[in-house]
């Protein structure tokens, strides 16, 4: 998690984290996308390991998951592809508990460590289970667990999550599935309150950021933003991957 920690320490504002689904749009596109995003100036990437039943995801990411699985993506293949990705950009894996559990948690963490993964976002991993069973394992392999907070998360629970965190906290802009609402204006009040939550760890905001305006708003109140569905949609529309990555990042960073 050192690469990620370093970025969080050196760049205190305007961090851009982009999500992509491994195996999408084509089976072996991951290294091309990650490397192009790095070249385009993205600060970190979130790599989705597809799952057949992604309950926290809206239509766009559900579809990219389904396409990737149809393309024949597997966890082992993703680890192979990660070897070909630039080593300097921090990488976080986003997936659901079941694929990791079935693969074997320790084996999974070990593989992550080998290919330079900094952290894991597993939205359906219960906090108490993480604390009692998996925290030691994550630490052994230098992996940071990134937890979600929502506008409804209670102060006690925020503190609990903050204590269990080791790099940053992922604040969802509204309690919804990914990419459900277009734009984040409605959560303005929540965003402006983020700084006053008094958390030890920096916050990145994700869910429903689809324009440079959304991102600029998020950047006023948090250390950075995470974009997923909007990027996946953009990839769908463009033929050259490298070009698509560059135009998307440029588009988001303007303003």
């Amino acid at each position: 998690m050192q690469t990620l920690k370093k970025v969080l320490e050196t760049k205190k504002e305007g961090l851009l984290n982009i999500y992509c689904t491994a195996g999408y749009p084509e089976l072996n596109d991951l290294p091309t996308i990650v490397n192009a995003l790095h070249d385009a100036g993205v600060d970190m990437v979130e790599i989705g390991i597809p799952y057949s039943d992604p309950i926290a995801d809206g239509e766009t990411i559900q579809q990219s998951n389904a396409v990737a699985l149809k393309n024949g993506i597997t966890i082992d293949l993703i680890f192979e592809q990660l070897e070909k990705c630039n080593k300097d950009i921090p990488k976080i894996i986003m997936t659901y508990f079941n694929p990791v559990f079935k693969y074997g948690l320790e084996h999974f963490c070990e593989q992550c460590h080998k290919v330079g993964i900094d952290g894991l976002i597993i939205p359906d991993l219960p906090l108490d289970l993480y604390q009692s069973m998996y925290e030691k394992l994550f630490k052994k392999y230098g992996l940071s667990s990134v937890f979600l907070i929502t506008p409804q998360t209670s102060p006690e629970r925020l503190k609990y999550i903050d204590d269990l965190s080791s790099t940053f906290i992922y604040a969802v802009s509204s309690s919804s599935t990914t990419g459900k609402i277009s734009g984040i204006n409605t959560s303005d009040r929540y965003l402006s309150g983020l700084k006053d939550l008094g958390l030890q760890h920096p916050i990145l905001v994700g869910f429903n950021i689809s324009t440079s305006k959304d991102l600029a708003l998020v950047n006023q109140h948090a250390q950075g933003g995470i974009i997923g569905s909007a990027f996946i949609k953009h990839l769908r529309k463009n033929r050259s991957l490298e070009e698509a990555c560059h135009t998307f990042v440029k588009q988001m960073m303007n303003d």
Partner: protein, 387 residues
């Protein structure tokens, strides 16, 4: 009770609440209040009144004379098919609708496979004047057309689900997503003993009335209780009050589809391994990479790649024997019941009846089969099979 859920929401190794943070407040609200509400005297009085006068409970425990003669033993049918709406599902939906009212929720969502739970939810919502949205796989909408019409007539909105295998699993995913997006005003009525804690326990408690009645209706204990298992709500209902009567053999029958040696099956305990589906740890049918496998069964209600966590626990501690029968065996059993007893059972229920073919009997055995639903919705399948 030794098989009840523990404080952490687990049955042995199974259960729990593997939910994204967005659902935490809803689950917490439900978890902190459901037991108190269920044990409240006014709630109990209202629910038992409805079960008696609206559903028609207690349902009969009928001695099936000709079926018994056929097998040379004593077979009793617990007639859940005679419940209002034609299946046991209404026991759960009425209870949960009353619960939703006490939680001040005005909008109800549900998933459905065969449509029985959808119809039972739409019925309970019509009765209470609540908005009702039912998610149903596009494939199931095609094969269960009469139930789709029934739900619509009862005022529910049926939303087709086109993701994944377009069946019950995907309808459940979509209902969970709806709940994430509509937390304040919505209660999710899960139709089986699946989903995150506290749902498996909540639905178990509401279906346990089946075995509570069997116990009262029977002279002494049965030797066997047999029920079909998809998610497992009718089976848990029929087993629950016998779990600690260790002499009673409890048998759950899963849908073998075209056979457990083919890739067209829904027999989770025969083919599955441990994992998390729909937010609880149980057994599920999955690939070595943890992707959920699309199941197959002739019966839409059993066409589910998982099973409730309590069943997984009862399987592992060997309190219940789980077996499976194939599509054609279920069809044959349905025909046998039609011709010997004049009862047209649901395709789901026919799986429990088909297990009789695999048993050896003593003349003194007392076998209870939970006749979980009637077969009106399955007429086209029965007609096609006959021609």
């Amino acid at each position: 009770m030794k098989y009840d859920v523990n404080e952490q929401g687990f049955y042995g190794d199974f259960g729990g609440a593997f939910i994204p943070e967005m659902l935490y407040p809803n689950i917490q609200e439900l978890k902190s209040s459901y037991r108190e509400i269920l044990n409240d005297n006014a709630f109990k009085k209202e629910l038992s009144g409805l079960l008696k006068n609206y559903v028609g409970r207690p349902t009969p425990l009928y001695f099936a004379k000709r079926l018994s003669e056929h097998y040379g033993t004593n077979i009793y049918l617990k007639r859940e098919d005679l419940c209002h709406t034609g299946a046991h599902k209404i026991n759960n939906t009425l209870g949960q609708v009353l619960l939703a009212q006490r939680l001040n929720k005005s909008r109800i969502i549900a998933e459905t496979g065969a449509g029985q739970h959808g119809v039972a939810t739409a019925t309970a919502c019509a009765l209470m004047g609540l908005e009702c949205i039912v998610y149903m796989g596009a494939k199931d909408i095609e094969r269960q057309a009469p139930n789709v019409s029934r739900m619509k007539m009862l005022g529910a909105e049926v939303r087709p689900v086109h993701s994944g295998s377009k069946t019950l699993k995907d309808a459940t995913n979509e209902a969970i997503r709806d709940w994430i997006n509509n937390q304040d005003d919505t209660h999710y009525i899960i139709g089986s003993v699946v989903g995150p804690d506290p749902y498996p326990d909540l639905v178990t408690r509401l279906q346990a009335i089946i075995s509570e009645e069997i116990k009262k209706q029977m002279d002494g204990l049965p030797t066997h209780v047999i029920a079909c298992v998809g998610g497992g709500s009718n089976a848990i209902g029929a087993f629950y009050h016998f779990l600690e009567d260790e002499t009673v053999k409890l048998i759950g029958v899963e849908a073998g589809g075209l056979g457990v040696k083919t890739d067209k099956s829904a027999a989770t305990l025969a083919l599955g391994s441990r994992g998390v589906l729909h937010a609880s740890m149980s057994y599920l049918m999955q690939t070595s990479d943890g992707q959920v496998i699309e199941p197959h069964s002739i019966s839409a209600g059993l066409d589910y790649p998982g099973i409730g966590p309590l069943h997984a626990h009862l399987h592992d501690c060997k309190r219940v024997l789980y077996s499976n029968v194939n599509d054609h065996e279920a069809l044959e059993a349905a025909n046998r019941l039609m011709q010997l007893e004049g009862i047209i059972p649901a395709l789901e229920t026919s799986h429990a009846l088909a297990y009789l073919e695999k048993m050896t009997f003593n003349p003194t055995d007392k076998i209870v089969i939970n006749l979980s639903g009637r077969g009106d919705k399955d007429m086209s399948t029965y007609i096609n099979a006959a021609t």
